[in-house]
């Protein structure tokens, strides 16, 4: 927590430099078919109250029964965060009144969570990396949803989300900039998606962050923090932190003091504001839920789940660097999504890893980004891209033709080898044909030939002309060799 202060991360105020201290509570919706304590579906987008059981609606006499898959998912996540798994945990009731909280309490874990301390390794853009401490992870119920804009004096309550399992992942206040905070959430999301324990869909609210922000002069004790509730995009997390830190700095430099409170980030106005409704001091009266027994399992159960975990991004990245000779940066880009990493590995298998990485990152990702598509929606399969790379390696096509070929496969599909054959895209290695083309160019540009003898860099111009004349199919090596000898360049 008291790592040496990095001066680059300080915020310049009017009077002093300030250090911002950030901790986060992430609510991640557990991937499961049914809810944490009922058999109603978790799927998004149903008709109002269609995904609600009598338990979720808190009908009199209804009782919770825990979904074993949600427990397994929490343990998997804990293992992915290198955290301590508690073989005994307890469900508590957090009591408060709210129309979308039908029981009048949320079943959560307070004193004894299922997962204890862990950590997340976060890579930053400048190649630096930081370790963010995880304080705990606990299971709890989501609340329902109140719609306030349907009528001027009424709210509409839909309980479809009520009772869906959430993992609340609490970090230590180890983050020192909005960039670090964004990178942390990004990394956490990547880990959850690798594990398959949360889809990380922030648009649907399946991953939301409560961000605790305080500022202090470097070396001073922690300042008073404000909690910014329910920030639902990584970009907004960054903006909310910047905005809130500057607000606090302005107050402190004015000689004021920070009130500990809950605030809401308004991205439209670019400001945070106090949440009046939450201002009232809460007294949640936590106590162990008497409808549920303590949650207990054996270490062998945890070990079994650990054995079934996929390779996680840190390990995969390290392996890509050592196995395929990639740069840490490229490996990091490839492992950011499990599907991308899998795609890359399928392409790289039995081929040159670096070439494969270049194609995947530059051509494929570039093209996908341009169209706003994810790796799952790529029209070019790993096998097709692999075939294109093979055709280059075999000298059948040039790199330039390969890009055209990629475009054909992208839009029309098909077997790259057959396309090359059918459309005559093979590169010309017949020196006679290339020679004829070069001779024609030399004859038409005597002045350039003269210049080239003094300025050998003009060779490139001749190469370009030759390629143009041969429709890009001339073998570049052959072109180079012939030009050099004919122009007399060494």
């Amino acid at each position: 927590m008291n790592a040496p202060v990095n001066p680059k991360k300080l915020i310049k105020g009017g009077l002093h430099d300030w250090e911002v201290v950030i901790g986060m509570e992430i609510h991640a919706q557990v991937t499961s078919r049914s809810k944490l304590f009922s058999g109603a579906p978790t799927a998004f987008g149903a008709e109002p109250n269609a995904h609600v059981s009598l338990v979720d609606a808190a009908m009199p006499g209804m009782l919770p029964v825990i979904n074993e898959e949600c427990v397994a998912q929490a343990i998997r996540t804990g293992l992915g965060l290198k955290a301590k798994i508690n073989l005994r945990s307890v469900f508590d009731r957090k009591n408060y009144f709210y129309p979308d909280l039908p029981q009048g309490y949320q079943i959560s874990q307070y004193k004894d969570p299922i997962v204890g301390e862990g950590e997340v390794l976060v890579d930053l853009a400048d190649g630096e990396s930081i370790t963010v401490g995880i304080e705990r992870l606990h299971l709890e119920q989501d609340a329902g949803k109140s719609l306030h804009d349907q009528s001027p004096n009424q709210s509409f309550v839909d309980l479809n989300r009520s009772g869906v399992a959430l993992m609340e992942i609490v970090s230590r206040p180890d983050l020192r900039s909005s960039e670090e905070a964004r990178a942390y959430v990004t990394k956490l999301r990547t880990i959850l998606r690798y594990l398959g324990t949360c889809d990380g869909d922030m648009e649907k609210g399946n991953l939301r962050a409560d961000v605790n922000v305080s500022v202090r002069r470097p070396g001073e004790p922690l300042g008073t923090r404000c909690e910014i509730k329910n920030v639902n995009s990584i970009r907004f997390i960054g903006q909310a932190i910047e905005t809130e830190a500057r607000r606090q700095i302005a107050i402190l430099e004015d000689g004021g003091k920070i009130d500990q409170e809950t605030r809401l980030f308004d991205p439209g106005k670019g400001e945070t504001r106090s949440m009046r409704s939450k201002e009232e001091a809460h007294d949640y009266r936590y106590f162990p839920d008497p409808d549920l027994l303590p949650l207990e399992f054996e270490q062998a159960y945890v070990d079994g789940l650990a054995g079934g975990l996929p390779e996680l991004p840190d390990a995969k990245k390290a392996r890509f660097v050592s196995e395929f000779g990639l740069s840490a940066y490229d490996a990091g880009v490839l492992v950011a999504e499990r599907a991308s990493a899998d795609y890359y590995e399928a392409v790289a298998k039995g081929r040159d890893g670096k070439a494969a990485a270049n194609w995947v990152i530059n051509e494929l990702f570039g093209r996908l980004n341009k169209e706003g598509r994810g790796i799952e929606e790529t029209p070019v399969s790993a096998a097709q891209l692999g075939a294109i790379i093979d055709l280059i390696g075999e000298g059948v096509i040039s790199g330039k033709i390969a890009k055209d070929l990629f475009e054909i496969v992208w839009t029309e599909g098909g077997d790259p080898r057959q396309i090359v054959e059918a459309r005559g895209l093979k590169q010309v290695t017949d020196t006679g044909a290339i020679e004829a083309a070069i001779d024609a160019i030399i004859a038409q540009n005597p002045d350039k030939v003269t210049q080239a003898k003094e300025k050998p860099t003009l060779l490139g111009w001749f190469v370009g002309q030759t390629m143009k004349a041969t429709g890009g199919k001339a073998n570049p090596a052959a072109v180079n060799a012939l030009l050099k000898s004919k122009l007399g360049i060494e």
Binding site: G61, G104, D291
Partner: protein, 493 residues
Amino acid sequence: MTELNELTLAEARDGLRAKDFSARELAQAHIAALEKARALNAYLLETPDRALAMAEVSDAKIAKGEGRPLEGLPLGIKDLFCTHGVVTTAGSKILEGFEPHYESAVTHNLWRDGAVMLGKLNLDEFAMGSSNETSAYGNVISPWRRNGSDAPIVPGGSSGGSAAAVAAHLCLGATATDTGGSIRQPAAFTGTVGIKPTYGRCSRWGTVAFASSLDQAGPIARTVRDCAILLGSMAGPDARDTTCVDLPVPDFEAAVSRGVKGLTIGIPKEYRVDGMPAEIQRLWDQGAEWLRAAGAEIREISLPNTRYALPAYYIVAPAEASSNLARYDGVRYGLRVPGKDIVGMYENTRAAGFGREVKRRIMIGTYVLSAGYYDAYYVRAQKIRTLIKRDFEAVYAAGVDAILTPATPSSAFAIGEKASADPVEMYLNDVFTVTVNMAGLPGIAVPAGLDAQGLPLGLQLIGRPFDEETLFATAQAIEDAAGRMSLPRAWWA
């Protein structure tokens, strides 16, 4: 000849099997009896049409030789059990008109076995009370009266409607629930038998919750055997209640005739409380003597933490209740009283919907869980629960099979007699029964005699966890020795 509604449940069962009478006739006899007994206010809702329809199904089953264990036996249902399509109020204004779209596990089991529903029985609001005076729908009047007096007497509570209906022959048996004594105390007050089984023996699914860690369903009936028959049907595993055990249900009826030879019965000295009426002490001694005469060994035992059970209960039960009753907020069902905003709506709804005792308990529960008091009250009370349970474990480990105590510190009192400003006076009714709930043990109340005013008195037997069979065997020995309680003649009809 005895009227059909005056048969015991076992006699009625056997008569139906022998085709001495039909299920329809049996149901009609009960419907006629309860219509004449409305002055007792035992039933909140009569369901005669449903009863007759169910009886007809039973007659058809019996005719085909497909009779189920409780085929055609008319029962009353405490209005704490949710019944599909039949209004369920928990004795509270806040649930007035509430019609569940589900059937409680316990009543479902009874209908599965062929029983017939006569209606829903009155109770203390949310089962919070010891006299049935907290019901939002008026108190129940006991069929019993003091000698030479027609002052109305309480039937006990919270299962006061159940106990009164059974005692007045308005059903063959009734469902009840017990959180601190709510089966055993009204059974003792009305000369009926009531058993609270081990916590986890009956599913709590679909029964309106009062205090989750203490609530248990059980039957009230006129004989030990009848209780055994009913419990055998009500009990059983249920995947929908995490606290309900996955144990097979023993043949409780068979256990009734086991006898007590060779059993060791403990007499806890701590139950000899200050100011206990002499006739209660005499009855207790008499009970021990009966069991000795029937072949049991009587041993004095010590349960040193007994005196802390009641105060600890009045922390644990209200704490759980304050949270369990938070769902009654006027949003999804039940009463709604408008307010200036959502908070005002909550506050007005709950102020109007809950009665005084319920509000008092919610407030005490809210207080003991609130910041700064949780450890001093709730955690300490739960630690004391551990000590209370250890007391029992120690005597059972030392070879005691069951424990004999008085069921209540007095006989029934008159309506309004304990309406003082000090709620604790009423709470003391549960002083002998509440330890059993705190330790999750089974307990049975069985009639043992009348006091000088002619009101019934009961004895309580406390058993090992999941050993209700020994309780039935031992209670039968008391019933045999004391003679079946002769119930009051129908002054109300």
